[in-house]
Amino acid sequence: MLKMRHFSHWFLLLCILIFINNTQAQSHVGKYDWLLPDYVKLQYAGGIGFLSAGVGYTFVHQRIDATFFYGYVPKGIAIDDLSSVSLQFTAKLVRIRLSENYQLLPLNFGWFIHHTFGSEYWIKLPSHYPPEYYWWSPGRNAGIFIGGELKTKWLARKTPASGIAIYARIGTRGLYLASKVGNSSIPITDIIELGFGIALYR
């Protein structure tokens, strides 16, 4: 799995380079510009890494976002370092224009799927198990979240980026919900994954 981890590092670096390269050369409209991500994100926590870097596209008049994250938990914060990727879809339901420079998106709903790297985090039940021995897979979990975002035009004049946003999201995942069901003594705060981050828009 070491190779896979390296692959993710390189993939992420590549995405960031392409993004930076593109924002710097925004005035030249290229043939493949539509391929370039619409934003990059840096997120703290939220269940997908201590720090996660993401790239993504926005669709349907900026109402739907699809983001690919690479998340890392360094050794020291956990007893072993953890690498993972996640794919996240967000529906931005409400958009409030506060002024020319600020937009508030207070009601974003999201769904994500999260894959942790490592042979112990299998996705398909290894062959030595009897069929359907375990119903879940430790390597692939799905979850949901709600969040809010404040979009600004900071840096818009000084850099080729169109703006910066700060966002927060609060969520949980299927395995936590399955543990909470039928257990009133487990506090709801124990199954919450809170996170926040910044987004830089193209």
Binding site: Y44, A45, G46, G47, I48, G49, F50, G71, V73, I77, A78, I79, D80, L82, S84, L98, S99, N101, Y102, L104, T116, G118, E120, Y121, P126, H128, Y129, P130, Y133, Y134, W136, P138, N141, L150, T152, I166, A168, I170, R173, L175, Y176, A178, S179, V181, G182, N183, S184, S185, I186, T189, D190, I192, E193, L194, G195, F196
Partner: protein, 267 residues
């Protein structure tokens, strides 16, 4: 506009600060505080310092899976009994092997007034569960002597180690059961009994090792969630199958002189 923005920023900051502890980095993050580390060693220390009685009473539960509320009820009930020496949780404290489930499970057991020991089950080993178990409870195979009786805790979850031939570790078990001055009898405790998930190539050796020195007075296991006492070996070592916690029944084992009593108590 500046004011509105500052207010939003202020409230967001206050919100985020007040939510410290809700930030989650990964379902597999192992970052336990001191009361959730080395738990079996701490409890053994406590147990071996207590005044040992002639009759040993042990309360067994196990197979918590996702029935955490019931584990809480078990703890409350055990705390009402005056004569329990210690508690054994016979494995599967973390249904998905998640560090968070380890924390939940141990969170209830920490409220026990008597010492307790937690054995490893197959569910506890999924994902990075082995690391979580070692960090929270310690070695997967361990033993101690209490009142002239050696208690041997054995990892029998062969399936989780892809039937590698070393689980259960029969060489270690055999060493533990070698007669010595500090004990005259032994009790062997494990999660998974011979059957599906237990290495079939080690099954015969397992029974032979238990019978080798004629000093094992009882074997106790979980995994099957129901209760029964049965005798799979020719020399009649009783095997006690412990109820899963969802039945809200605990198994009480009393050992005195040369007798063993097995009772079940509702909670």
């Amino acid at each position: 506009m500046g004011t509105t923005f500052k207010i939003i920023l202020l409230f967001s900051t206050m919100f985020l600060i007040s939510c410290e502890g809700l930030f989650d980095y990964s379902p597999y993050q192992i970052d336990f505080d001191s009361e959730n580390k080395g738990v079996n060693a701490t409890n053994l220390d406590r147990l071996l310092k207590t005044n040992q009685s002639d009759t040993i009473t042990i309360a067994f539960t196990g197979d918590t899976h996702n029935d955490f509320d019931e584990l809480g009820c078990f703890v409350d009930k055990v705390n009402t009994f005056p004569n329990i020496d210690f508690v054994i949780h016979i494995g599967d404290i973390a249904d998905f092997g998640l560090p968070k489930q380890y924390l939940w499970g141990n969170g209830y057991l920490l409220n026990l007034e008597v010492p307790y020991l937690v054995l490893i089950g197959n569910h506890d080993l999924v994902g990075n569960g082995l690391e979580a178990y070692k960090e929270m409870f310690g070695d997967v195979d361990f033993s101690f002597v209490y009142q002239d009786i050696k208690f041997v805790f054995l990892n029998t979850n062969s399936l989780e180690f892809a039937y590698n031939g070393n689980v259960p570790n029969l060489e270690w078990l055999s060493q533990q059961l070698l007669p010595s001055e500090d004990f005259s009898r032994a009790v062997v405790v494990f999660h998974m009994p011979p059957g599906i998930g237990f290495d079939s190539e080690l099954e015969l050796g397992f029974y032979q090792t238990l019978s080798a020195h004629n000093n094992v007075i009882m074997a106790v296991h979980g995994h099957q969630h129901h209760h029964e006492v049965y005798y799979p070996t020719a020399d009649s070592i009783p095997f006690v199958n412990v109820y899963g916690v969802e039945h809200r029944m605990m198994t009480l084992v009393k050992i005195y002189q040369d007798k063993i009593d097995v009772e079940n108590e509702a909670f």
